[in-house]
């Protein structure tokens, strides 16, 4: 398993952002669904080793990210696209991807080829020498994806990767995800249920810091049966039904 999480929590002051998550994930595309504030981004940031957990056990790629050595080894094999991608406006697309390839400690001799490949894979080859400040939101997102995949990561974490992409780009992106997931664990946080239906082999639904559903997209679809849950597709209705059931249970407990 590339991701092993047991009873993971994260607090920010009095706010419990992640409240006891258990999860295991191997190669494949894993979708993380949930409403705003459900804890998806905080969970991804812990998986990306950007912030440590408050408690619980976290093992990534068979290593403990708590120690410097383990964290460094994990980060060499990690790809991460944050929700809010910060960038240097004066960098070109190639400079940007190359900079992070070097910070991932890739062998310098390999860097030109892998940067070119990553930029081509997100269809930004003709924009490789363009400054980031001149790109559209969708192109910037693709530049962010390029830096995430430049090291051919074994663990790829993408927070709202399709935000700003047009339909053609989203389709290409899903195909890219399926390609990468043949050998890597790809965890995609999104609120777009259709992305999960089209690309993910497994899905978890989060609400108020907890995982309230974990299964396949088909199993999520089945949850809609016998309910009047709202949604434009069966998967959306399943998602709504899971959230409604989780909230009803939480309400009954309190």
């Amino acid at each position: 398993m590339n991701v092993e999480i047991a009873d993971l929590t994260r607090r920010f002051g009095r706010t419990q952002a992640v409240a006891g998550v258990d999860l295991e994930a191997g190669p494949g595309v894993f979708g993380l669904l949930g409403p705003n504030g459900a804890g998806k981004t905080t969970l991804l940031r812990m998986l990306a080793t950007v912030i440590p957990p408050s408690s619980g056990t976290l093992r990534l790629l068979g290593r403990d990210p708590g120690g410097y050595g383990g964290r460094r080894q994990i980060r060499r094999r990690l790809g991460y696209l944050p929700q809010n991608l910060g960038y240097y406006p004066g960098f070109t697309v190639a400079d940007f991807v190359e900079y992070f390839a070097l910070l991932k400690e890739m062998p310098p001799g390999r860097v030109p080829a892998v940067v070119a490949a990553a930029v081509e894979r997100v269809d930004l080859g003709d924009k490789a020498r363009s400054k980031l400040r001149t790109l559209s939101g969708g192109m910037l997102r693709r530049a962010g994806i390029a830096q995430a995949i430049v090291n051919e990561p074994d663990l790829l974490l993408l927070d709202e990767p399709t935000a700003g992409l047009d339909p053609e780009q989203r389709v290409a992106f899903r195909a890219l995800l399926r390609d990468l997931a043949q050998r890597a664990t790809v965890i995609v946080s999104t609120h777009l249920v259709e992305d999960v239906g089209a690309a993910c082999s497994e899905v978890a639904v989060m609400d108020t810091g907890r995982i309230v559903f974990h299964g396949t997209p088909d199993e999520l679809t089945v949850r809609a049966e016998g309910t009047d849950a709202a949604g434009d597709s069966q998967l959306e209705r399943g998602y709504s039904a899971v959230l409604a059931a989780a909230r009803a249970t939480a309400g009954a407990r309190s």
Partner: protein, 249 residues
């Protein structure tokens, strides 16, 4: 790209539509790949970067070092303009304006060097194998080195006395360390700049009140050891502020 899987949960029309779109996109990607754009997008590292890579034993840190001026271009221009004006003022008035300005200019640059709320790609940098602390260190060194060079050039151009010319390097270290510590603790470049400029101004004024000479802050040899001790303390604070935080916050 894998074009076989198209999402079996979609309806028939959607599956055909998506299959067609995947085919078109894949054909286009293959055509682009054939153009072999790799050599044209690759920028060879310069001599400075290659030397820095060997010295730091990290091509990533070397790239962080050499790209710092481009990330802080406005600061670099402002530093040059301020110190040039200082050199002119020193020449015309005979007072050591360059020595008094150099620490303040460098402190402002250091505060903008790196960190949460300062570096736009901070979160991304935080997930990299090369420690973000080391990136912070090389960026601070780049800013310090450039400002020291500009200060020396401005001092030489203004013909200031040797004692004052090199006296400002040690206070500059202390003021820069203060700006760095405040910027990383407060996660605000502006707070770092304010602390650096305010602290330096306060010191000049207080030394003038005590001795009657406003150049005392850069000429007094008795202050050099306290400056260095203060700088070390501030660096320790900055290191503490940039550590991986413990669980509960």
């Amino acid at each position: 790209m894998n074009t076989d899987e198209t999402g079996p949960r979609l309806g028939g029309f959607e599956v055909r539509l998506e299959t067609e779109l995947v085919r078109v996109v894949a054909e286009r990607a293959a055509a682009v790949a054939r153009t072999e754009t790799a050599p044209s997008m690759w920028r060879r590292p310069g001599r400075l970067e290659l030397a820095a890579g060997r010295l730091l034993r990290s091509p990533g840190l070397a790239r962080a070092l050499v790209t710092t001026p481009s990330l802080l271009l406005l600061w670099l221009i402002a530093s040059a303009v301020v110190l040039a004006a200082g050199a002119v003022a020193t020449l015309s008035s005979g007072r050591p304006w360059v020595a008094l300005m150099a620490p303040a200019v460098a402190a402002a640059g250091i505060a903008y060097a790196y960190g949460p709320g300062i570096d736009p790609a901070w979160e991304l940098s935080r997930s990299m194998a090369v420690s973000d602390r080391l990136v912070l260190l090389v960026r601070a060194l780049a800013v310090f080195g450039l400002d020291a060079g500009l200060g020396v050039a401005a001092s030489a151009a203004s013909g200031t006395a040797a004692g004052i010319t090199f006296g400002w390097l040690v206070p500059m270290t202390a003021v820069c360390a203060l700006a760095l510590a405040v910027a990383t603790v407060s996660r605000s470049a502006n707070a770092g700049v304010a602390a650096g400029l305010g602290g330096w101004a306060l010191l000049i004024v207080s030394e003038q009140a005590a001795t009657g000479r406003y150049t005392e802050a850069v000429t007094s040899s008795g202050l050099m050891l306290p400056y260095l001790a203060f700088a070390a303390a501030c660096v320790a604070v900055a290191l503490c502020a940039t550590r991986i935080p413990k669980g509960t916050s």
